[in-house]
């Protein structure tokens, strides 16, 4: 088992569904619904009995029980005076244990009581961070692999860690439950319905509401409140998650998958799948087949780090290839942009500010970023992602020097701002008219010559004249410019270097 099998926080939470069971007469049955699930049940209140196979033990609040594999099951029973309240969480663990899943599915393993071995308290759980969780997970798996220990070590460790995470989740669920106990149970039951019946293309909120004896409008309202997403979104997510599994683990055709997942037709399947995953079903299947595994958090971060590092070295062609590769592997556009390209440019900006690198390094890094952006831009536009802000920049009229202006432009783009480059020799009126036409929040003026810096004052005056001075910030820079001059002409900001200009622009936009 390699480190790459370690899931990240997102994967972890995406794989979790939760529900509580309604008691059927005297006992509550729980089981892992299919071979890709592991279930953990936690006694959140009260006490009673827990039974698995022939072993019956008392159970109390804070105890946790696990079941792995579709054929395993256990149940909770009420005691003479009270009954336990149990929350059951179902984990889709197929994405965690690719290739190892069969171990968990072993019919010889059906769960166990962790009470004695691993004390389970909310205080402990809340003190855990996800990094600690992943670190522990990693070390246990590595140890297990090195020692060739039997799979139970890994599974038990994994389940413990799931419980740690679960505890945080249950706390949240518990709060909801306390505030709106009836709603919480209804929504949990609705989710269970969806998980069981997602393949039914006729599955509707109305149908489930009818089964649960509530009105559809009430269920719709409480579902969004408790689950944090609409019923329709939840159903879509469940269907796509299952489609992913079929794509990855079977030779089913798209038509078969559409049918199995209760979807409408091929175009709507493609649209839905791409909306949720960012890639097409075909790309997803190819990726899973070629890699034989899901992308782990570590793997994703190693790709985006590679993008950032190559950007810093100015390797434009490699950055482009890596961005394409990352997209093909299913890494999200935003992650590539923020953690890869913008992170790389941010480091470059900081190093330039600290005089650790020089203008040429900034130029080639910015060029590499642009190469990456060429790949991402259409996707960002498709997603409707908006830039942090819009800036128009130019060298003032009479001045043909552009190196400083170009550096600032690159640094601004490196901060995720859209920049309209007006070039050199730009008249004051054009700065202002461009800002108005393009809805820019900032105008940046550059000048190298003492003879041309006066145009900056004209830009300020033009903005006043056009009635937009309160809507647009004016930043100035260049060798002859000083803070005093900035104040004298009534501009908003002067910065000494390109990296500081970009920081200042972000500050002005977020004020």
């Amino acid at each position: 088992m390699s480190n790459e099998n370690i899931c990240d926080e997102n994967t972890l939470f995406q794989s979790v569904t939760t529900y509580s069971r309604i008691y059927n007469e005297n006992h509550l049955l729980y089981n892992a619904p299919s071979s890709q699930y592991v279930e953990i049940s936690i006694v959140t209140e009260g006490s009673g009995y827990h039974r698995v196979f022939n072993e019956t033990t008392e159970c109390h609040a804070g105890d946790a029980y696990i079941i792995g594999g579709g054929i395993s099951h256990g149940y909770f029973a009420r005691s003479e005076y009270e009954r336990p309240t149990v929350t059951t969480i179902s984990f889709d663990v197929s994405s965690w244990f690719d290739g190892e899943l069969s171990n968990i599915h072993s019919p010889n393993y059906c769960g166990g009581v962790f009470r004695d071995e691993l004390p389970f308290s909310y205080a402990l759980l809340n003190s855990k961070t996800m990094d600690e969780l992943k670190g522990t997970f990693r070390s246990i798996l590595q140890e297990s692999t090195q020692k060739g220990a039997n799979w139970k070590v890994s599974v038990r460790s994994l389940l413990y860690l799931m419980m740690v995470t679960l505890g945080r989740y249950v706390n949240l669920a518990d709060t909801l439950k306390k505030d709106h106990p009836r709603d919480w149970i209804t929504v949990s039951a609705t989710m269970r319905h969806v998980l069981d019946e997602y393949g039914d293309s006729e599955l509707t909120l109305e149908k489930i509401a009818s089964d649960l004896y509530v009105s559809a409008s009430h269920l719709s309202k409480i579902f969004k409140k408790v689950a944090g997403e609409s019923f329709a979104d939840y159903v879509r997510k469940v269907r796509v998650n299952n489609a992913c599994e079929f794509l990855a683990t079977s030779e089913m055709t798209n038509e078969e998958i559409i049918k199995r997942c209760g979807l409408k037709d091929l175009p709507s399947f493609y649209k839905l799948f791409k909306n949720v995953t960012g890639i097409t079903p075909h790309q997803y299947r190819s990726m899973r087949k070629s890699k034989g595994k899901f992308l782990s958090g570590d793997h994703i971060m190693s790709i985006v780090n590679e993008i950032s590092e190559n950007l810093q070295r100015g390797k434009a062609k490699i950055v482009r290839e890596l961005v394409e590769k990352a997209l093909a592997e299913g890494v999200s556009v935003n992650l590539i942009l923020n953690e890869g390209l913008l992170d790389g440019m941010s480091i470059i900006g900081q190093k330039f500010k600290n005089n650790e690198i020089y203008v040429p390094e900034v130029l080639v890094a910015a060029r590499a970023m642009n190469m990456g952006m060429q790949v991402l831009s259409p996707l960002l536009a498709e997603k409707g992602t908006k830039p942090l802000g819009k800036v128009c920049i130019g060298t003032v009229q009479g001045d043909l020097h552009d190196i400083g202006k170009n550096l600032v432009k690159m640094m601004l783009e490196g901060k995720g701002l859209e920049v309209i480059d007006l070039g050199v020799d730009v008249p004051a009126e054009r700065f202002v008219s461009s800002a108005i036409e393009n809805d820019c929040q900032i105008i940046c003026c550059s000048a190298l010559l003492t003879t041309t810096m006066g145009v900056m004052k004209d830009v300020v005056d033009e903005a006043v004249k056009a009635g937009v001075r309160d809507k647009v910030k004016i930043m100035i820079g260049g060798a002859p410019i000083t803070d005093e001059y900035c104040a004298q002409i009534g501009a908003d900001a002067y910065t000494l270097d390109a990296a500081s200009a970009a920081d200042k622009a972000v500050e002005l936009l977020t004020k």
């Binding site: 203008v359 080639v364 003492t450 003879t451």
Partner: protein, 329 residues
Amino acid sequence: MKKLAKQLLENKSKTVPILSFPATQLLGVSITDLISSPEIQATAMQTIASRCSVGASLNMMDLSVEAECFGAPIRFSEDDIPTVEKPILSESKDAEKLPLPTIGSGRTSIYIEGIRLAKRRITSIPVLCGTIGPYSLAGRLMDMATLMYECYDSPDETHALLEKTTAFIISYILALKSAGADGVIMAEPVAGLLSPTLAEEFSTPYVKKIIDAVSDENFLFVYHNCGGTVPSMADQIASLGADIYHFGNAISLKDILPKMPSDSIVMGNLDPLLFKEGTAEDINLGLQKIYDECSGFPNFMLSTGCDVPATAKWENIDAYFKKINELYA
């Protein structure tokens, strides 16, 4: 140390500021007049030499002359120094087809003649001509950002371009020298934007080649670099073998002085903008600060950090010379 350099050091009150264009104010001529006429250039140099207590006379630092010879379009203005309007090369390999200009083309003949006339009229102090450096010239032909990309992408072609700019600058300096120049001040400001590694490959060797080609015992070579990265490439600059190193105010002169050869003069570095934007008091304070920090170095001489703007206030220029006289009284 060459005899001319020794003479400069012997009288530190006679500095060598980069001062030429403000002469237009004294003569009542435009910049266009100045850069178009050898006669006016010589008169301007003579005017400054007689009004100001300078150690050498400099002709105009017009860094568009060489690029114009290669065919770059130039923007002229009545009140501003000429500048290259747009690059003529989009990539280094285009340089292969670029003909090496002949000396005398463009405005080189005006500057050569200007030096000839100035040398006849100014006899008490050395007359220095001015040129652009090889990398900076390449940056004017191509545009600086593209040239920097080309250093990474097409180093061989970039070297070929630099060979061409170097060859032309050598010929131009030799022509100015033949016209009577006692030395040259070569401005290589764009090298001041380069990383030390790139400068070592794309600027320093070519500057060295020029120095070796034009220098002799009676000809001073002044290397001017007003970029901010000078300290990081101090060892390279020190190895060039220039007679005088002239640095800008983007750096701390006191930090760079110990790194320069003790047998070369190091000049600098009063902010030239003070002459235009500041007051006489600003000039005094600025000079005093540099003096306090650097006067302990025997090879240090006060100067401006770069070219004094054409529209500088003459009261500030006069204050500069007055303060220097006080400091070395």
